[in-house]
Amino acid sequence: MNAPSRPRAAGVPHPLIDGIEKVTGKALYTADLDDRDCLVGRILRSPVSHGRILSIDVSKAAALKGVRAIVTGADCDHTFGVIPIAMNEYPMARRTLRYRGEPVAAVAATDAATAERALDLIELEIEELPAVHTARDARAPDAVQLHDNKPGNLEREVHHVFGDVAAGIAGADLVREETFDCAEVNHAQMEPHAALAEYDAERDRLTFHSVSQVPFYVHLTLARCLDMDASRIRVVKPFVGGGFGSRTETLNFEIITALLARAARGKVMMRLSREETFLTHRGRPQTSVKLKIGMTDKGRITAVEAEVVMAGGAYAGYGLVTILYAGALLHGLYDIANVKYDGYRVYTNLPPCGAMRGHGTVDVRHAFECLLDRMARDLGLDPFAVRRANLLSAPLFTANDLMVNSYGLDECLNKVEQASGWAARKGKLPPGRGLGMACSHYVSGAAKPVHWTGEPHAVVAMKLDFDGAITVLTGAADIGQGSSTIVALAAAEILSVDMSRIRVIANDSTITPKDNGSYSSRVTFMVGNAAIEAARALRDKLVLAAATKLEVSPEDILCQGETFSVRGARQSVLSFQEVTIAALAAEGTITVKGTFSTPKEAQGGRHRGGAVGSTMGFSYAAQVVEVTVDADTGQISVEQVWAALDCGFAINPLAVEGQIEGSVWMGMGQGLCEETRFVDGLAIHANLLDYRFPTIVESPDIHVDIVESIDPLGPFGAKEAGEGALSGFPPALVNAVADAIGLDVDFLPLTPDRVLEALIKQRRDAKRRAAK
């Protein structure tokens, strides 16, 4: 057949559609928005880790010339929080201060210097209370209690058992147990937090711009905390400079900015400093993982027992979801029948933790992949062989009822094994140089959202008008990951039109459909499917119009390359514009929508907390890391990384590649050098000098392979691509260090000082052994 070649949009590398604005500096982020006639907002923060507020006197600050509004905890008695059953945080503390940096009051003034002076004039009388800064201290029998309803400072404990763990352990040829300690990390996204709130006092309406990943949560939370009908609020998300989970939850400064704008009956710009952005936190908690694995001498895993303790900070936030994820995602990567999980989420007097790229899984996966490698070594097996001994075969449901319909891990393993020259090079590198590998996975969207209403997970609307332009309306928040581009590509693919015909309008609550937001890697899968459905609805209308005009049945119409023709006939070709006019003649401007809902069987098991971890499909990744270690200074250099990710299908291979590199890089930061640090609860990392994410100097070549397992439910077969490759890096790094210098490391990050200390201990132990 001489079918004309059909331009394909999906599967072809495409630069992000909002990239030009970003690289030319034209993109307006929240802090860049028009701030004429704006008041400047500043926040007064708690100087203590734990204390009772005896009094707040704002009279001197209020008397300062240029101060227009002051709000305190007294101005909002609504709690907020991302989990409806666990909201225990006030935008500004009302009676109790629980971490250094917690907002206490806020000022709106005509300029920043005045606002700053006003903060200094607010008199705060505090009765200081004992504080706990570590999970161990918080769990001590005599520890001070942070929340009245949470004895033992336990936010949530989880106890899950699947299969017969005792039998699994009994049937193992090798059982090994180790404890891994992973430091707390922060997203450190490029853009500091900012919000712009404009209150229209005459109409009692609020227009709100913010850096959110989930504008819908912001909308709900503002309505709740300001006691406003949601219909009076408009939430707009401008360009956002990174999220990584830090902006999934509605954040205290957002509510404070809105409260200030209403109190001042005007417009308030709040730009947080880098320090304040760090103090707002919501990062990955300090986590200790005690892990026991049973294995046969062929490398088959017989049982897993994990005990995970997370130091979650002062408020619930996402805590219960994080501790559930940590257990749930022990499943879904390998074929494991017997799993026991005990998780403890603990309150501490530190900034609250939250969701961060690879939410819940990263530290547990780290422990798992490190221990697998050590057991492989004990058994004389190759690390690849151990993984291959435990592969899943899709479709299936895991022991905890997670749905797996597509599985490309075996192909990922093959790719990185070959690309890295593993077989020829492993164990044969010069001293101080080593190779390590690890696997990982991540969900493609939570199958059951925390705000469960029964409505579809995603809605995309499309409009076609007289000009032939296709406008796509989506509430999906593009935070740099490329979600708007995915939506445009999906539309272009289905409608077989050029990308230039499509404009994506995103994130204005007055215009775009509600979306559940950019978290848990849900957008490509859910919004992508909704976009496909909307585009199909539009295509159906166009095909019908073409069929009517050409006097054939719609089934005979071929729609491709912006033309409509009759199948098998060479004549009778209509242009896209002609068909648009014909279609509009019937009904005027065409609007259609598509939706996506998750199938019931994807929504997880019946056990308590079973919805967390549930998804339509997992991405799978394998990576190999090559390092050199300087034994004199403990300095590690990452020389090269090979990463392969099964994303089902790469709708935009260019973006997928970027997401894999970004995941690897962020995993490298956590592995090598990133950590938060506190002195008596006071953050000493809250700047970009002391929070040491890697620079370009440390950034190795990353060789990326994309594996496409074509998921039956994914849009064009696609799954997530933005998180799965992260959690493989830290364990691959630790495994590479073991290969390089024979040192097994049980901590993260591998900063030079920790590595050198471990090396010195290793040398001392070796000397002692030799002396005996």
Binding site: R45, D111, S273, E275, D690, T695, V697
Partner: protein
């Protein structure tokens, strides 16, 4: 965004004399060249002044004159220009390496030699926001009564963190100072004192105008202990120069990031052709460990900084001897 800058007036003298007059007229004024250190501190509320004297318009502070006779480097020379100077990189590798190790490329586009030599000392209890320091009752270096690093001591332990100073010191540098009573020269080591709160021996009204170097030592090098390959201040840094007397080689070491001033030490004795290098360099490493006195001024522990910088000192010295 960052914390707001306080209001200030900026003077832009065109000559060194005009700058000295400006300083005399405004004793509280601060000198500013690239501003990459000063402006950050001003935003943190660490600098009490309403006047800045911008030195970037003074031609006499510019220029590098380097050759076999030695070198003169203007205090206003930008680090990127110092890096680009072929004579310096060839004859004084320690200075080139130290300049290359400072901050990141964009900082080096504005930061100057003089600014790096006059860098304020650093401490995790000091380089913080106003809210942070107030929450911690301030500190001895600024508005407080105790040094949180060494609460029992009576002086500020903030660390000198300039990379250039140790490299220049082992190469025998002197500084040229201009003040109301004329100019004077003094060895770079005497430009500093071991007091984190007052680390420079500059007299009121004086300005650092240039660095003078004698002919280059036969070998020199600089290495820096840090977590990342860019941006970071030195957790510790070491410069080594080797000189020869006949067959015997002797070594000068200087350290940064470990004390409130850069510290220089001569390795006693020489390494002759018949000496066991391993014994000699083990002694050198021990000397380095004894010389430095890192404190809890950064997030990275003192013990590590002492061990790592001493290992690097040994590596540099052994590399030159090989």
């Amino acid at each position: 965004m960052s914390n707001p800058l306080p209001d200030f007036t900026i003077l832009r003298p065109a000559t060194i004399d005009a700058a000295i007059t400006g300083l005399a007229d405004h004793p509280e004024a601060r000198l500013c060249a690239g501003g990459s250190d000063l402006i950050v501190n001003m935003r943190h509320g660490l600098v009490e002044t309403d006047t800045l004297i911008d030195l970037t318009g003074i031609d006499a502070l510019q220029g590098i004159d380097a050759g076999p006779h030695g070198a003169r480097i203007g205090a206003g020379v930008r680090l990127c220009d110092l890096l680009d100077n072929a004579e310096i990189s060839q004859a004084w590798p320690a200075i080139h390496q130290a300049a290359a190790a400072i901050a990141g490329p964009t900082h080096r586009e504005v930061a100057t030699v003089g600014g790096n030599l006059c860098l304020d000392t650093r401490c995790l209890y000091y380089n913080q926001s106003h809210w942070w320091r107030k929450s911690n009752d301030f500190c001895l270096k600024y508005r407080g009564d105790i040094c949180h690093v060494a609460p029992k001591g009576n002086r500020c332990r903030a660390a000198f963190c300039g990379d250039l100073a140790p490299a220049l010191m082992v190469c025998g540098a002197e500084v040229e100072l201009a003040g109301p009573t004329g100019t004077r020269r003094l060895p770079l080591a005497e430009f500093y004192r071991e007091d984190g709160a007052d680390p420079l021996t500059l007299q009121p009204g004086e300005i650092l105008i240039a660095v003078q170097l004698p002919p280059a030592p036969p070998a020199s090098a600089y290495a820096k202990v840090r977590v990342r390959g860019a941006i970071d201040f030195p957790l510790a840094g070491v410069a080594v120069a080797m000189r020869r007397t006949g067959d015997a080689r002797h070594f000068t070491l200087a350290f940064t990031g470990t004390n409130s001033s850069p510290v220089m030490v001569e390795m006693p004795g020489t390494l002759g052709p018949d000496d066991d290098p391993d014994t000699y360099f083990t002694a050198l490493e021990k000397l380095a460990q004894k010389t430095v006195s890192p404190q809890r001024t950064t997030t990275v522990q003192p013990h590590y900084r002492r061990l790592a910088v001493s290992a690097l000192a040994r590596r540099l010295a052994a590399g030159m001897a090989a």
